[in-house]
């Protein structure tokens, strides 16, 4: 029971056939994040349409290469489904909602309107050792997006 609550069929599907996987060209920033506890790694690229828009910039693409457990793999796949096409502010809001779900220790359900497939991770929040796995790609996304935006500001200042 407990186990099925973590390994929802939807998670296993994403794990077996991840979406948007692979690194693609044309990106604003690339980051490499690791989880030293288990050896999970992700290289993630964010491509924004127009960095000068700041948080209004649209996320055109998120591409990634990763190695890790089913939870971290599925989480990256779900993430791309969720944020590609949203603007940065919206994507960060989804990130916030996901973070909250993960920290709920099995108490929260997650808002399906906001989190879509990601509500399937609700069960993971009961397993403290696995929460980090679910969050790895999200942390990478936040970092990469911030870097992409920062770089554009820097460019402007330099001009």
């Amino acid at each position: 029971m407990k186990l099925e609550s973590m390994y929802q069929e939807i998670i296993l599907d994403h794990y077996r056939s991840p979406h948007h996987k692979g690194l693609r060209d044309g990106f604003g920033a690339e980051v490499h994040h690791i989880n030293p506890t288990c050896g999970d790694e992700v290289t993630l690229r964010v491509h924004l349409d127009d960095e000068s828009q700041g948080e209004q910039a649209i996320i055109k693409d998120v591409s990634y290469e990763s190695q890790g457990c089913s939870i971290s793999q599925a989480s990256a796949s779900v993430l791309t489904d969720l944020v590609i096409g949203k603007n940065v502010a919206e994507a960060f809001a989804v990130h916030e909602a996901f973070l909250e779900l993960m920290q709920s220790k099995g108490e929260a359900q997650g808002d399906e309107d906001v989190l879509e497939d990601a509500v399937a991770f609700a069960g993971v929040s009961k397993f403290p050792a696995r929460v980090k796995c679910a969050l790895l790609s999200w942390m990478a996304l936040k970092d990469a997006t911030a870097q992409a935006l920062a770089r554009s500001t820097q460019k402007e200042t330099e001009q």
């Binding site: 029971m1 407990k2 186990l3 973590m6 390994y7 296993l12 077996r16 030293p36 506890t37 288990c38 050896g39 999970d40 790694e41 190695q67 890790g68 457990c69 089913s70 939870i71 793999q73 397993f127 696995r130 796995c133």
Partner: protein, 427 residues
């Protein structure tokens, strides 16, 4: 090993299991606990737990420097534990046994004082420290820190494809600039038992000090520091049926007497003036502040327990379990053992990678999680030995490890559990 021995347990495991209260508990949905994570930390027999409770309930006081009855009792118990440990490792002198908080502190102690020492032991530019690629992080990072701080060089022996030390270039790596060789006795991730004699011989030939990380050997085989021939040996209580919070550094008295102190404070001093201090003779020189007294008592009880079983019997029992596990795991479809696959020179831990058709490798985290649901506790990850994972191009492993209380039935449960894992994730 004869056929006889593989059938006859060298120790009465059923009786031993009764001594370990935790083995009676269930996990998850009432599954009996199958604890295959003893390399991370062993469980504790009643005798150890009670020795410590009894200490606190009846004898506790700070040790040394006290004339009252409790201080004398506590001191006798604490120093008695030192005697027990000295006997357990056949130390020529009880004062060579220094209590630390764990193996890691013991290894840091040696690395630090060799960094601070003057000639002939001290490290400096041009000097080399040699470790191996199969060290636990606790025998890597202290040497990285010390070589960085002293401007000396860190070099290492590599690994063969089958999980053993590559000694083909031993004489080049351990060259005449080498002042320290620090090597693990039994690898916690690969299970490899290393051929220390050749390494010790070469190291002493070039005048290097030899440090042995015996964290994974002290719990499992007869450890005789005089036969070993090393200069320092480190091990840790919690892996050998003892409590957390205590480790041991054994070192040759000549060296310990000559090397500078490590941590400063109460008990490790001779005369303290504001302007400067002198230091106590060993072992106290290296035991600053109030030591883990109850933990020493607990470790003493653990040593008593192991000695009563007989370390030869422990080794034979575990060899039997490891042989059986290698055989059964080797027959699991899609399972690849990382490390030696023969039971000879193999410690009580086996790492592996599990794959399933249609999906490929199942990440160890997922393997461990599904096993956990069946009550089977294994460790997954890099086991504080990331360079080994990098060497074999794997992100992590699943590791099953054994102790005096491990049974063949538990190996069977593991194998069944792995089949379940494959079904669970299989496409």
């Amino acid at each position: 090993m004869t056929a006889e021995l593989t059938r006859t347990a060298a120790i009465d495991v059923e009786r031993v299991r009764k001594d370990f209260p935790i083995l009676e508990r269930t996990v998850g949905e009432g599954r009996p606990l199958v604890y295959l994570d003893s390399a991370a930390s062993s469980q504790k027999p009643r005798q150890v737990i009670e020795a410590m409770s009894d200490y606190y309930a009846h004898h506790h006081s700070n040790v040394h420097r006290g004339v009252h009855a409790l201080a004398e009792e506590a001191t006798a118990l604490y120093e008695g534990a030192r005697d027990k440990v000295a006997a357990f490792i056949n130390a020529p002198d009880r004062n060579e046994v220094i209590f630390t908080k764990n193996s890691s502190e013991a290894l840091n102690l040696v690395a630090s004082v060799l960094g601070w020492a003057g000639e002939p032991y001290g490290l400096g530019p041009g000097d080399r420290v040699v470790i191996t690629q199969m060290e636990h992080h606790s025998n890597i990072v202290p040497w990285q820190l010390t070589t960085q701080r002293t401007g000396s060089e860190l070099a290492w022996l590599g690994l063969t494809d089958d999980g053993r030390l590559d000694l083909s270039n031993l004489d080049e790596v351990v060259n005449e600039h080498t002042k320290v060789v620090s090597v693990v006795h039994v690898s916690n991730i690969l299970g490899t038992v290393n051929p220390l004699e050749v390494i010790v011989r070469r190291a002493h030939d070039v005048g290097a000090v030899v440090v042995v990380d015996a964290s994974q050997s002290a719990p499992h085989l007869p450890l005789d520091v005089q036969t070993l021939g090393a200069d320092f040996v480190a091990f840790t209580g919690h892996k050998m049926l003892g409590p957390t919070g205590i480790g041991v550094l054994w070192g040759r008295a000549e060296l310990l007497n000559e090397l500078p102190p490590f941590l400063g404070g109460g008990e490790m001093v001779g005369v303290v003036n504001m302007e400067g201090s002198t230091y106590a003779p060993i072992p106290h020189k290296y035991e600053a502040g109030t030591m883990p007294i109850a933990e020493a008592v607990g470790l003493g009880a653990a040593v008593d327990y192991l000695t009563a079983l007989g370390m030869d019997n422990v080794a034979r029992h575990e060899h039997e379990i490891v042989s059986y596990a290698l055989e059964r795991l080797g027959a699991v479809d899609g399972l690849r053992i990382i490390g030696p696959t023969e039971p000879e020179q193999h410690g009580a831990a086996i790492s592996f990678i599990l794959s399933v058709e249609g999906l490929g490798e199942i990440h160890p985290h997922d393997v461990g999680q599904v096993l956990d649901e069946q009550g089977i506790a294994v460790r997954v990850g890099q086991h504080c030995a990331r360079p080994v994972c990098v060497r074999y191009g794997i992100p992590a492993t699943t590791r099953a490890s054994f102790s005096v209380y491990t049974t063949r039935a538990e190996i069977d449960a593991l194998v069944d559990g792995l089949e379940h894992v494959k079904r669970f994730f299989g496409a």
